[in-house]
């Protein structure tokens, strides 16, 4: 597995006000298939938005494919905890949104949107409106929309965080299957340690106040991953490793 570096940061920091510092002095290199885990409020989402070019950094450097991030890029796509679907559009019309914004809604784009919905398991729901879909199905639409952008760097900010445990597990397995492409880089943000390990080749552990990357842990579990792996001793050892990093930083800290 080649650890090709896609995203690189040096001395990156983001301060929202003088005192509230979300990310401080982050130095890291993110290879393909990474996840970012840490407790809420540690600046994971801020870091993700810095990479996406949605917010401006206060200091330091952040580059994607050796180019400084100055704004949103075509090769970066996002997915959030909320599906963020336009409720006046059908599922397929929501998937076509990226094409519409770029002004290329041709038969090819339409075919791709159709195929995308089949891929995420929404056959027969192409023309359903968001309100007719369950939370999990809405996230599937959001995933199809992300695939539709053609972005090969996918930033996923707790995409299934609002769903129940069972749905989340199933969607995680499907997500891995769908993005299992050597060309695609995924960065998965979560506060769930199991999920972070399950989804990634490399886990970045973040600690709060100020947000820092405290450890990078390689995950050498075989692929494709299955839910059953989560109960193996290897998996548990990894969980302990992540937990030790976090508790080392959190001991005595006010929660």
């Amino acid at each position: 597995m080649a650890d090709e570096v896609v995203i690189e940061a040096k001395g990156l920091s983001k301060a929202f006000t003088e005192t509230v510092i979300a990310v401080e002095d982050a130095i890291f290199q993110i290879p393909k298939g990474s996840s970012l885990v840490g407790p809420s409020g540690c600046g994971k989402s801020t870091l993700l938005r810095l990479i996406a070019g949605l917010i401006d950094k206060t200091d330091g450097n952040i580059s994607v494919r050796n180019a400084e991030v100055t704004g949103p890029r075509k090769d970066i796509g996002l997915m959030f905890q909320k599906a963020v679907l336009l409720e006046w559009r059908t599922a397929i019309e929501n998937v076509l949104l990226p094409n519409e914004i770029r002004g290329d809604v041709g038969p090819e784009a339409k075919q791709k949107a159709w195929d995308g919905l089949q891929l995420v398991g929404l056959k027969d729901f192409e023309f359903a409106f968001p309100r007719q879909l369950s939370g999990g199905m809405q996230q599937r639409v959001a995933l199809a929309r992300l695939l539709q952008t053609g972005a090969d760097i996918m930033l996923l900010d707790e995409p299934f965080g609002a769903l129940d445990e069972f749905t989340r597990e199933r969607l995680n397995v499907e997500l891995l299957r769908i993005v299992d492409d050597p060309e695609i880089t995924t960065i998965f943000v979560t506060h769930n340690i199991t999920e972070a390990i399950f989804l990634a080749d490399k886990v970045f552990v973040m600690t709060p106040r100020p947000g820092r990357i405290a450890a990078m842990i390689d995950i050498n579990l075989p692929k494709p991953r299955t839910i059953e792996m989560e109960t193996t001793p290897e998996f548990n050892a990894l969980i302990k490793e992540v937990r030790d990093v976090l508790s080392g930083h959190l001991d005595g800290a006010p929660l």
């Binding site: 938005r49 949605l54 996002l78 909320k82 059908t90 914004i101 770029r102 023309f127 007719q132």
Partner: protein, 291 residues
């Protein structure tokens, strides 16, 4: 108004009080109304109450017949008031929505606008009526002006509320897709705000009527306001009541029309319409992909 239907259905389901469904309920309401009218009529005929001030229901019915059919003079006045209210409502809504959009898009403009809006909000708009009549004269324009002023506020506030209701993640999604400001505005902000905006427009239509009527009370040559003022001044109370009922009916019809428009435009908020749209769009899609 739209909440009536589901309530009744609910009651039928649990075998509740609306036995006989909608028709039964309507008949019961009509019966109660008839009893009230009968008691009113009888009280009046037996010398209770002053028939000069509170006319008999039968006299009101006769007056309705008179002003609509034998004299037929009410049509012209209705038309005048309708015109004033609608033109005023249109102007008020355009200004209200326009200012709201500008205020949401520009922080500087919003800060500038704020104190004036607070002043306008604190002033009972109807109190400006006499001044408007002095400025714009006794004709149609002063009525239009007051109607516009009275109904401006609801679309203004609702448009601001609606536009500010767009979630941060939605903006982030659009920005990450490289959307222009124009695309964000038309494809995200306006549709998101539409339900709230429509609610504001519904309120505006009703209040525009009030505005036009009050301006007519102050001074006018024609319109329902001046017609009713003339009837009451000559103590022709049955006709005054007939005029009032006309205005009520009128307001009700307009409100219903607005509701129907609302319903059609906001198809995604109604289960039945939504299913119909789904089907339409899937048929259109299949047709297009085949060709």
């Amino acid at each position: 108004m739209s909440s009536i239907e589901p309530d009744i259905n609910h009651n039928i389901e649990i075998g509740g009080e609306f036995k006989g469904g909608l028709i039964g309920a309507t008949i019961r309401h009509l019966l109660i109304l008839l009893v009230i009218l009968f008691v009113w009529e009888m009280a009046n005929r037996t010398g209770m109450g002053d028939p000069l001030l509170l006319p008999r229901p039968t006299d009101i019915v006769l007056s309705i017949w008179k002003i609509y059919v034998t004299q037929g003079n009410v049509w012209y006045h209705l038309w005048v008031t309708f015109k004033e209210a609608m033109v005023g409502c249109f102007i008020g809504c355009v200004i209200g929505i326009g200012l709201a959009v500008a205020a949401v898009l520009s922080d500087t403009f919003r800060q500038f606008l704020k104190p004036y809006i607070i002043i306008v909000e604190a002033t009972p708009r109807i109190a400006i009526g006499p001044i408007l009549v002095t400025w714009f004269g006794f004709g149609m324009s002063s009525k239009v002006a007051l109607a516009a002023l009275v109904c401006f506020f609801a679309p203004f506030v609702n448009t601001i509320t609606g536009l500010l209701g767009v979630e941060e993640e939605s903006y982030e999604l659009f920005r990450s897709l490289g959307a222009t400001r124009k695309q964000v505005f038309w494809r995200l902000m306006i549709p998101t705000a539409l339900p709230t905006m429509n609610a504001g427009l519904k309120l505006a239509v009703g209040s525009a009527f009030g505005g036009a009527l009050v301006a007519e009370f102050i001074s006018a040559q024609s319109g329902m306001g001046i017609l009713m003022a003339r009837y009451t001044m000559s103590l022709n109370m049955p006709s005054a009541f007939a005029g009032l009922l006309s205005i009520t009916l009128y307001g009700f019809i307009l409100f219903r029309i607005m509701e129907i428009i609302d319903h059609r435009v906001l198809y995604w908020r109604n289960d039945e319409l939504m299913e119909k749209k789904s089907l339409q769009r899937s048929l259109a899609w299949n047709k297009e992909m085949k060709s």
